[in-house]
Symmetry: C2
Subunit: 222 residues, 2 copies
DNA sequence: CAATTATTCAAGGGATCTATTGAATTAATG
DNA sequence: CATTAATTCAATAGATCCCTTGAATAATTG
């Protein structure tokens, strides 16, 4: 009977994919890649890993089909192989948050205390942008903003926020977002804005989650 | 700055969950558990693993919150901790099938050749059952059927199928299902039925996927 | 063509994972 | 209360994973 072998082989393949996700550094790399395409050394910089180490992790991700790369000049650019990878990461995040007490506590301690308000659902934000009611604020680094952002969003990286407060219309509510549901940038931005008396909330999820819902994404790259 | 530590800790936790999924045997155990609650030795039997080994794998799954257990008599029964775990497994499956050439080939060689017809979507099956147009056939072992099955489905394990052909109304189309999208039982059942001249198709997905769509599940256990 | 930049390759030690074995718990049974 | 059944625990060897280091490969630049 080859059916036993088939099942075994199939599950082994699924396990390969899970194994690629079974390392914190690789998950972090994937979150960066979910913002857009990036070169190896750019990823090494933002993740704080050695270049060689980054390269090896990326190759593992590539061998399991989670990312693909292209060579341009003497740089190699990696990106997610599809939005289904973002969906998988979202599933993983959700299960971890729901069933691991450690995660729940971490999230509560570091994030929830900073923002007791409910985040704005993506669909609702879209409506309110159409009606001109809110300013959408992207607090990620400019490279990530350039690679893709919410339509009409303005980009003020967190570090610049205090200096550029006047770029915001004080009569409008601000909705801030960054890389994903657990990215601290948007939490910090919202809390800073509120201290300055600006009405601010967080988007529910970051750019990858917005994309996954099928909403339009603007790109500055020409 | 504690934000770096927070991110690191968080991704490490996500990685723990992925690590629990990074072994073929554990994935197989999870697929069995997605059918319903089962004891350790029942799982050891169907998976072909040692009892001690099965127990250790189950404990790893438990430590990452993917399964929970309850003690009854001197048996311990494990089950999935939630349907989000089924959803995560589905995501993993989908990504693997879409991006790993090996999986695509495996599935094609072992399954697609057996059933060139498109499977029936769950929603469509529900309609046709209401109209009394189809016989729903559950080809899993009786324990799994007892733990939960599609409303009105009859249970004929694959091995019994030839003997019990007369239990099927020959004028009706049969829709067969089993444990999931890659479970061979339903594929084999459909092909056997067609050889006997019975009009047969497969359900798209198994019981866990049916549940995930929010459709009703019947249970024989009293 | 030599020098530089970005990435990959190769080898190593230390840690972690897996399956096996046999003993230890725990709860039911006679 | 001794016995049995189901599960877990503990210890072990072999495999795999992770990071570091230093060299090798390509593509670009002067």
């Amino acid at each position: 009977m080859s059916t036993g072998n088939f099942k075994h082989d199939l599950f082994s393949q699924f396990a390969r994919v899970a194994k690629a996700l079974s390392n914190g550094h690789r998950l972090e790399l994937l979150e960066f890649l979910a913002q857009g395409e990036r070169s190896v050394d750019a990823l090494a910089q933002v993740s704080g890993l050695t270049v060689a180490n980054t390269s090896q992790h990326l190759q593992q991700l590539r061998q399991t089909g989670l990312v693909i790369n292209r060579k341009a000049g003497h740089k190699v650019y990696y990106r997610l192989s599809g939005m289904d990878v973002s969906a998988l990461l979202g599933s993983l995040r959700e299960v971890a948050e729901r069933h691991l007490a450690d995660v729940d506590r971490l999230v509560y301690d570091y994030l929830k205390v900073k923002d007791s308000l409910e985040p704005v659902p993506a669909a609702q934000l879209l409506e309110r942008v159409r009606d001109g009611l809110v300013t959408v604020l992207d607090v990620r680094p400019p490279e990530e903003y350039a690679a893709g952002h919410l339509p009409g969003a303005i980009n003020i990286p967190l570090a610049e926020l205090e200096k550029q407060l006047d770029a915001l219309d004080p009569s409008q509510e601000v909705v801030a977002y960054c890389r994903g549901p657990h990215c601290v940038l948007a939490f910090d931005a919202v809390s800073k804005l509120r201290e300055r008396g600006v009405k601010a909330r967080r988007l529910d999820g970051g750019l990858p989650e917005w994309r996954l819902e099928g909403f339009p994404v603007e790109s500055s790259s020409t």
